[in-house]
Symmetry: C2
Amino acid sequence: MRLALAQIDPTVGAIDENLSLILSHIERARRSQCKLVVFPELAVCGYSPLDLLWRHGFIDKIQKAQEKIRQASTGIGVIVGGITAQHHNDGGNLSDPSSVSDGAGTDLFNCALFFSDGALVASIPKLNLPTFDVYSERRYFTPGPGAQVVEFRGKSIGINVCEDLWIDDGPTDAQASLGADWIINISASPFFVGKGEVRRHLASRRAQENGITLFYVNIVGGQDDVIFDGGSFVTDPEGGLLYQAPAFIEGLFVVDTDRTAPILPPREDTIATARRAIVLGISDYLRKNGFSRVIIGISGGIDSALVAALAVEALGNGAVSGVFLPSDISSQESHEDAHALARNLGIDLIDVPISEVVAASHSAIREKITGLAAENLQARVRGTLLMALSNQRNALILTTGNKSEIAVGYNTLYGDTVGALAPIADLYKTQVWEMARGMDRLIPQRIIDKPPTAELRVDQKDEDDLPPYDVLDAILKELIEKNASRDELIAHGFSETTVDDILSRYYRNEYKRRQLPPAIKVSPKAFGIGRRMPITHRYRE
Amino acid sequence: MRLALAQIDPTVGAIDENLSLILSHIERARRSQCKLVVFPELAVCGYSPLDLLWRHGFIDKIQKAQEKIRQASTGIGVIVGGITAQHHNDGGNLSDPSSVSDGAGTDLFNCALFFSDGALVASIPKLNLPTFDVYSERRYFTPGPGAQVVEFRGKSIGINVCEDLWIDDGPTDAQASLGADWIINISASPFFVGKGEVRRHLASRRAQENGITLFYVNIVGGQDDVIFDGGSFVTDPEGGLLYQAPAFIEGLFVVDTDRTAPILPPREDTIATARRAIVLGISDYLRKNGFSRVIIGISGGIDSALVAALAVEALGNGAVSGVFLPSDISSQESHEDAHALARNLGIDLIDVPISEVVAASHSAIREKITGLAAENLQARVRGTLLMALSNQRNALILTTGNKSEIAVGYNTLYGDTVGALAPIADLYKTQVWEMARGMDRLIPQRIIDKPPTAELRVDQKDEDDLPPYDVLDAILKELIEKNASRDELIAHGFSETTVDDILSRYYRNEYKRRQLPPAIKVSPKAFGIGRRMPITHRYRE
C-alpha cells in the first residue's frame, strides 16, 4: 500500500493555520495516490498547548477543525492527532474552587482520529500519559479505556499514541495480540542527542516481538525550549528499517509498503545533530512568534561567537546583528576577535562602549559598589544597552549562556542572561567548543583557542573561579542528567572539595535559572520545562 | 481523647532540621499528655520538593528520618506525612533514556505514616494525586491501593492525605463504610483567599454524610510562590466546628475530643487574610533562603508603598531599605511621597537619580532610542542600579509589580520586574488600593489617592494606556481565574474592542511572565507554578 507520513510543523494554538496545513498535506497525499496519510500527535492544536487546553472554547475550536478534516477524507484514510472531550458532572473535586477553571467537568482524551471517506472510522485515545521530564499530560488528559484494532483496506491496524509504544506489555503488544498486521504510532517526541537511535531501537524490538510493520510518525518543529525532530520511519516485521524520513524538516514522505528491502539507519553525529536542532529552534521561535531579526551581544568569546554563527545559519546574515560592548577591562584581542567574527559571518556589528555608563552608575549610587557587585553592574549595563537596541529595532536578543555556567551560576541575572531565547543553554562548555570547531570556517580560530574569561575584572579567567571545564562538565552531566548524589559523585573519583563546591553553586543558583529565557533542549535533562526545582530548599547532596 | 495538631512549617529538603522540628513537637505533645500527635502531609521533607524527589539519596535520607520518628513514638501515637518507596524492575518506560533519572525504577508513595510505641502501625498512601493548578503529584507519586482503617485506643481511625478528602465517594466515604469513627486528614493545602471557608464547608459535609469526627491538619509556611496557611481544625459528626487552630502560624494545638460544644467559624476578611499570607510569604522566603534584609525601589506610587509596608510588617523596619530613583520626569510630589512613606515606615531611603546614567546610555548607543524603547531604558537603569545595591548589601529585592500590570505586560522586563520575590504580583490593582487603605496609618493618603502613573514619559497616566482599573480587573479576573473566552467576556457586557485589546496584551506578554520572580499566590489562579502557558502560540480567544 502507498501511504504518506505527514511530518508537519504546526504552531501551538494556531488551529486555523494548522487545519490548512493538514488539508494541504491530505490533498498532496491524495494526488500522490496514497491510500492513507498519517499526521503526528496533537497535530491540530500543536504540542503542547499546556493550560491553553483549559481556555473555554479551545477544545470546541479544535473539534470544528477535526470536522473539516473528516470532510476532507474523501477517497483517502487520514490518521491525525486530535482531542476528544467527554463532559461529566460527577463532582470530582469540583468542591475545590481552585480546580474549577482547570478543566474540571470535562475529560479530555489525547486521540488518534481515523477518518476515511468522510466518516470517523475510529477514535483511539492515548492510554499512557507521561508526566516525567517535559511532559505533564496527566494534568490535562484522561487515559483511554483499552487497546483496539481497526480494519482498513485488508489490513488490521493498531493505532496508538506516542508513549503507548514505549510501555512493555502495553498497547502495542495488546494490539498485536488482537491481530494487528501494522502498528501506526503518532508521536510528539522531543529531541535530545541520540533520541533517533533510541526510537528506532525500540521500534525494531516492538516489530520483532510482535511480527508487525511499524509506522512511526513524529511531529517536527521548535516550541519554546523543546525541539521536535521529526525523523519519522517505518520498521519491517524483522525489525529492519524500511523507510527513514529526514529529521528537522517538515514534509510529506510517501512510503510504498510493497518495497521490502531494508535500508541502513542514518548515522547521527552528536554535535552536528544538536546543531540542526538548535538552528530549527531559533528559526521556529522567531517565525512562530512573528519576529524576523535577532541581536546578539558579541564579546569576542566562544559562546557569543557560536550563538551568532547558529543564528546566521537559522535566519541568514541579514537578520542577525551584533553589539560589542567593551569596558575598560576588555582587551584589544576581544575587539579584534568580535569584529573578525562579524566579518566572517557577514553580519552588522556596532561598538557600544559601556565605561561611561558604568561610571555614571557608580556616581549615581554614591555608596561604594565593589567586588562581585561591581562585576555584575558591568554585565547589567550591557544587558540594559542591548535591550534598548532590541526594543528599538524590534529584534529579539539571543542569550549566549551555556549549560556549564548556568549550572553553577557563573553568569549575571539581568546581565548576560537577558534575552528571548537561549540557544546554547543546554550545551556544556566542552560541547560549545566541539560545535564551534565544526564551524571553524566561520568562527575565528583564536576565539576557539583562547582561555575563556568573563572579562569582568582584570586578567580574569573562568578557570580561576571554576574547576577545569572537562572536570566541571563531567560532574555536571552526572549531576543533572543522572541525578548522581554527592556520594555517587565522590565514588566516581571526583574530589570531595570540588563536588561540594559544585553542589553548593548548583543549588544556590536556582533563582537565576527560574528567570532565564527558554533554553533549547538538546540533552535528556535541560534547564527548562522538563526540570522543576524549588528555589527555596536546603538540600545540598 | 487528648491529641495535638502539629501545624508545622518545615523547609523543603532540610530533612535534618525538619526531623528536629518534628521530634520537639512530639516531645511537647507527650508532655501535654496527648495520646496522639498529627503532622501534615510530607512534613518530613517539606512540600513540595518537586524534582528533588528524584535526587539519588533523597528518599533514603527521608526514610532514615522516618526511622527516628518511629523510635521517638514511645508512649504516643504519631501520624506524620512521609514517603515510602517500592523498587521494581518491570521495565516500564526504561527504554526511554530521558526517563532514566526521572525516578524510574522506583514507585514513590505520598504516605501518612502511623507510628505508636516504637512500631509502624500503618502506612497509608495517598490515593488521589492532584495535577491541577500548583500540583504535579502524578509526576512523582504512585497512587495507593485502597482505603483502610486503623484501630487506636478504642477508636477506628480512617487516615487519609489531602486530596483524598476532596473526592466525592472517595477514600473518606470508603473509610467511614469500613467503620471509621474518626477521619484524620493530613494536608499541604495551598492558600488562596477564601480557602479556609471552602475547607471547613467540605469537612462539615464529609462529617455529616458519614457521621464521623474529622481532624484536618494542614502544613503552614511559604514555599517560593505558594503559601500554606495552616488553619487546622476539627469538625464534629454534625458538621459543627469543634476546634480551629490559627492560620499562618506554626504551633502545637491541643484538642480534647471530649469537649463537645461547637464554636463559631472565624470570619475571614478577604484583604486582611491576603495580607497575612503575603507577610508570611516574605518572611519565610528570606528565612528559608538565608537572607535577612530586603531593598525596594520606592517610586512614590501605591505598589511600591504597599510592598514596603508589607516588608516592614514581615521583617521589621530595620531589615527594609528603600531606594528612590528619580528621573527628569519624576515629579516633586513623587519625591515627597516616597520620603513621607519612608518616614512613616521608619525605613532608610536613599535617592539615586538616574538621569545621568540614562543620558550616558543614550550617548553610548549613539543610534536613536525613542518611544517605548526609551521608556524601558529608564526602567532598566533603575533595575540595574537597584541590583547593584542589592548585591553590595546582600539584600534581596522585592519586586513591586501587581497582577493587573503583569497580566497586560504594563511593565519592563529587567526593569521594574527585577527581584527575588514579587509579594503583590497576585493582587489586582484594585486590591492593591484596598489593601493599602487598610494600612493608611503607614501609607500616606496622597499615595493612595493619586492616579497611577509609570512616570516614564511626561504626564503619563496608566489609564491613558489601559482601560480604567475597575474594568480591567473585572475582565482579568474572569479571564485568568475562570478561563472565560473572548465570547464569554463579550457576553459579560465588556466591549469587543476592550476585550480584544486585553486578550492581545495578555497573550503576547507571556515571555515576560516566564522570567518573573516567584509571585506570592493569594488567588485561585496566580502567575506562577500553578499556571503553565506556552510563550510560542497563536491562540487569541
